[in-house]
């Protein structure tokens, strides 16, 4: 079976690899690119721990071939913070104790970032539906929902602040 050459943009960087067609995206990220923030949980498309963004859509990277992602733009948890400054979602999970063991956290945050891109001002119910594909076995989700709502508020405030000079003109 011939290997396939895959070129992807991961967290803004162009990365290339020769992969077996059967290689899963999560293993390309973790084992080839050493981006181990993306976790393998259930490995059966259920738990969402391996969630990353692929061309703007949240995806379970255990359920996608690396070859399928050839040419795609991917964001993983490693691409979330701005240097030493945590992303509002990361800060909010910290502030609201949105994790205990932390295993689900990278996937949870990636899914939350997709959700807030779709719906910047969700209700608690919409947050719960938005993370329905991400399982946390520690927290009972209450603090995760609080964290996502805190981040949503901060991200809206930032957007408003950024829009203000234009509006004032």
């Amino acid at each position: 079976m011939s290997n396939r050459h895959v070129t992807v943009t991961v967290n803004g960087e162009t990365r290339e690899a020769d992969v077996e067609p059967r290689l899963l995206l999560v293993h390309l990220l973790r084992d080839t690119f050493m981006l181990t923030g993306t976790h393998v949980g259930c490995d059966t498309s259920n738990c969402g721990a391996c969630t990353v963004m692929v061309d703007g859509r949240s995806a379970k990277s255990c359920t996608m071939l690396a070859a399928q992602a050839d040419g795609a733009t991917i964001t993983t948890i490693e691409g979330m913070a701005d240097g030493a400054t945590l992303h509002p979602l990361q800060q909010a999970f910290w502030d609201q104790h949105g994790l205990q063991c932390g295993f689900c956290t990278p996937g949870m945050m990636m899914q939350a970032s997709w959700l807030l891109g779709q719906n910047p001002d969700p209700t608690d119910q919409e947050v719960r539906e938005g993370i329905a594909g991400n399982l946390c076995r520690c927290t009972g989700y209450v603090n995760i929902v609080k964290a996502i709502q805190q981040a949503a508020g901060e991200m809206r405030a930032k957007q408003d602040a950024a829009a203000e000079p234009v509006a004032a003109r």
Partner: protein, 291 residues
């Protein structure tokens, strides 16, 4: 879990995909979103020698109303169908089924064509396509073939698609005025496959009686099926609690559920009746008789 080895092809257009399928018929599997096929490959329940990724094939992702049909390209995702405002207004059964499939990530990537071709006996789309009397357009190098949904789902994980054919489009008849539909699904946990799924579509004649009825059931037989006994009860009747109760009982009697971790056979039959009743009631609430 690592799939067995396979070759990978990424055709750019339908013609190239069809040529590959024609050359490698029987030994190739088509990959659309991947949310049905990848789990099968990983569990090694399927081990094709070639995976044909149609993710970059142009022209399979349209949604359009044309010639009295809603034409949905096979690669349209569940998420797009759930988010489409015109579909929500005009095809409630499609909207409700799309929004309840799997979870957000599954809906972001999973496609209506992939789901139909996979034909999981508990999947949602077959019930919808059966209730709405939809058809599925398959294409090969030899030409096109349109298959009625009621003939398409042959058995568990088996469809009428030939090995050299590609499912390219799903066609749902545009409902006439006076039509209403609904999808009701019982799932044990968020994101589960249905324990029971019921799609219904009713049309009310000028005399206020039901003159067209479609009832599609999923997860309660070896393959999704049309509850024809329930449809027969509905035809000619004025919508109401009594007739819906009799139709629900007929649907339960016609189902052939298997005992599994979701419950025993008696429970499932009871849930078929319950969910059929709810779907009929929800559709009826949307019915506005017209001349």
């Amino acid at each position: 879990m690592i799939p067995a080895e396979f070759e990978y092809a990424r055709p750019r257009d339908v013609g190239e995909a069809l040529r590959i399928l024609s050359e490698r018929a029987g030994d190739a599997k088509v990959l659309s979103g991947g949310y049905s096929l990848l789990p099968l490959l990983k569990l090694r329940l399927a081990s094709p020698s070639l995976v044909v990724d149609i993710g970059h094939v142009a022209g399979l992702d349209g949604i359009a109303e044309q010639d009295g049909e809603l034409r949905i390209g096979a690669r349209v995702t569940h998420a797009r169908l759930a988010a489409d405002a015109s579909i929500a207004a005009r095809y409630p059964v499609v909207h409700e089924a799309a929004g309840g499939i799997g979870d957000p990530q599954v809906r972001n990537w999973g496609t209506i064509g992939g789901s139909c071709a996979h034909a999981d006996p508990s999947s949602d789309w077959p019930a919808v396509l059966i209730a709405t009397r939809a058809s599925l357009l398959c294409r090969s190098v030899n030409g096109d073939r349109t298959i009625a949904a009621r003939d398409f789902f042959v058995d568990a994980f088996q469809t009428a698609i030939e090995p050299d054919e590609l499912l390219v489009e799903i066609r749902i008849p545009t409902p006439a005025p006076g039509t209403a539909s609904a999808y009701k699904k019982l799932e044990r946990r968020a994101g589960d496959f249905a324990t029971v799924g019921v799609a219904v579509q009713l049309h009310l004649g000028a005399d206020g009686r039901i003159d067209q009825a479609g009832v599609g059931l999923t997860a309660v037989a070896e393959t999704p099926f049309a509850a024809t006994d329930a449809e027969a009860v509905l035809i000619g009747a004025a919508p109401g609690a009594d007739v819906f109760k009799r139709a629900a009982a007929a649907a339960a009697a016609q189902s052939r559920p298997a005992e599994d971790r979701h419950g025993p056979v008696d429970y499932k039959r009871a849930m078929v009746a319950e969910m059929t009743g709810r779907a009929l009631t929800a559709a009826a609430a949307r019915l506005h008789p017209t001349a």
